[in-house]
């Protein structure tokens, strides 16, 4: 039963991403800034740091599945989020071995991961001909505001989930080392 908590929360964030833009004041949406909520990704970063052990890759698997769901539900272009999320979470999973899991490391890995993921998504969309934005504009109008907003979300998640994630990881991953 407890194993269903993680997919449940990820699904909740996936669903609320679509409603999120309704919550922000319209001036932010109509303006130049392109703010993209990557809440699923922020939660995946926490999972990668605190839930997964060194030899388990649940976060990558979840990144793959929920990236694909985002593709289906919100964009219709399959594979973009799936690939970017899974790859970047894999990189984060590798990086966390070198660092100790605390709030600063989470922020650092959150920033690095989100930048990588959003840039990867943007590159794929540019190649596919969906997005067309000069790089300077992209960094200024999309990447920076997106980073800020999602970091706020990460800091909001951190106190709620860190202890729980560690506990769930201890309970579930030591009993059987599958995957």
């Amino acid at each position: 039963m407890k194993r269903l908590f993680l997919p449940f929360f990820l699904f909740l964030f996936l669903v609320s991403e679509g409603v999120a833009l309704e919550l922000l004041p319209p001036s932010l949406i109509t303006g130049n800034l392109l703010i993209v909520p990557h809440w699923v990704f922020m939660f995946l970063v926490l999972i990668a740091i605190f839930y997964d052990k060194e030899d388990t890759y649940y976060s990558v698997l979840y990144g793959f599945i929920f990236g694909l769901l985002i593709d289906i539900v919100y964009t219709g272009v399959l594979g973009v989020y799936m690939f970017s999320y899974a790859l970047v979470i894999y990189v984060i999973h590798g990086l966390k071995k070198m660092l100790h899991g605390n709030v600063f490391v989470s922020i650092l890995l959150g920033i690095v991961g989100l930048s990588l993921a959003d840039i990867a998504i943007n590159v794929i969309y540019t190649v596919a001909g969906i997005a067309s934005m000069v790089w300077k504009d992209y960094l200024l109008y999309r990447l920076l505001p997106t980073l800020l907003l999602n970091l706020v979300f990460l800091l909001f998640l951190y106190p709620i989930f860190v202890k729980r994630l560690t506990r769930w990881g201890r309970d579930q991953l030591f009993s059987n080392n599958s995957l």
């Binding site: 964009t75 272009v77 399959l78 973009v80 899974a86 969906i130």
Partner: protein, 295 residues
């Protein structure tokens, strides 16, 4: 062979291939989603429905407070307008009856008018968080009669078209996301003395000026004035005629000086959409009539 023993690199490589294949698959023109996609869309749509209710409740409270402030002023304006409308209603009735009689004279059946449509009421549930893709989800799907490429309107005017319907939800492509693959045949109507109607195509959206590009075709009159209303012309075969699209902001000649492009400010607000209507054109589309003729 050492390369293939490197499992990680191998998996990433396969991932890239799958990615390219999937993007290619989803970018080609398709109006029907696979069953799996429809299932996911409906499930998420159902969950959004639950989450959206309290969110809308809270945001409604704030809009209500805003509304109260302007109520008095609005009331005055509305009263004035109401008296104007009374005259208009009478006029419209007259014109409708006259139209009917004239149609009867010409032996045109009422149901074959390009203007007629049946609205399907729907509520917007979510907007795509990926900002490159201008897409919203509505809570009506195939089960309610929504089909691909139907026009979607609000009270103010056109907002987009149905991109892919699932069983209980559908995704709508907004006008702001239109490109050269999603054209609308549009027109600016003129009274008889002033020359011919101006016809052309809405060919896309310009991000910089926040306006739609209306390419006026060569042979029609080119002196478009600012503030003129642009309507759908019903000639494209999908949308009914007479849906307001927007007003002319300015005109500019195109690269070769042969045609003129007008910048159109959309009539409907693309960012605060809540209630929409999916427009089901009453007249059969071209394909269907062709089929019948073949039989």
């Amino acid at each position: 062979m050492a390369f293939f023993r490197n499992k990680k690199l191998f998996i990433i490589l396969i991932g890239v291939i799958v990615l390219v294949a999937l993007i290619g698959f989803s970018l080609k023109e398709r109006s029907n989603l696979t069953t799996a996609e429809q299932f996911v869309n409906d499930t998420v749509g159902w969950a959004q429905h639950i989450i959206y209710a309290p969110v809308e409740f809270v945001s409604d409270i704030f809009t209500n407070i805003d509304d109260f402030r302007d109520t008095y002023k609005e009331n005055q304006i509305l009263k004035e307008k109401l008296s104007q409308y009374k005259g208009l209603i009478y006029e419209v009735q007259e014109i409708k009856e006259e139209n009917k009689e004239l149609r009867n004279l010409l032996d045109l059946k009422e149901s074959e008018s390009l203007r007629d449509y049946e609205p399907i009421q729907a509520t917007v549930m979510s907007r795509s968080p990926e900002r490159w893709i201008e897409q919203v989800t509505i809570n009506k799907g195939k089960q309610d009669g929504v089909k691909a490429n139907m026009a979607v309107i609000t009270a103010d005017g056109m907002v987009g078209k149905v991109q892919t319907p699932s069983q209980f939800t559908s995704t709508v492509k907004l006008l702001t996301g239109f490109d050269q693959f999603n054209r609308i045949s549009a027109t600016i109507s003129r009274e008889k003395g002033e020359g011919k109607n101006i016809v052309g195509m809405i060919e896309g959206f310009d991000e910089e000026s926040n306006s739609l590009l209306f390419r006026i075709i060569e042979k029609s009159d080119k002196d478009v004035k600012e503030g003129e209303l642009v309507f759908s012309s019903g000639m494209g075969g999908v949308f009914p005629a007479g849906l307001p699209i927007g007003t002319v902001k300015e005109t500019a000649p195109d690269k070769y000086g042969l045609t003129k492009t007008a910048l159109i400010e959309p009539a409907a607000d693309m960012y605060e959409i809540n209630q929409v209507m999916v427009v089901d054109r009453s007249i059969a589309t071209d394909e269907k009539t062709e089929d019948k003729e073949e039989e």
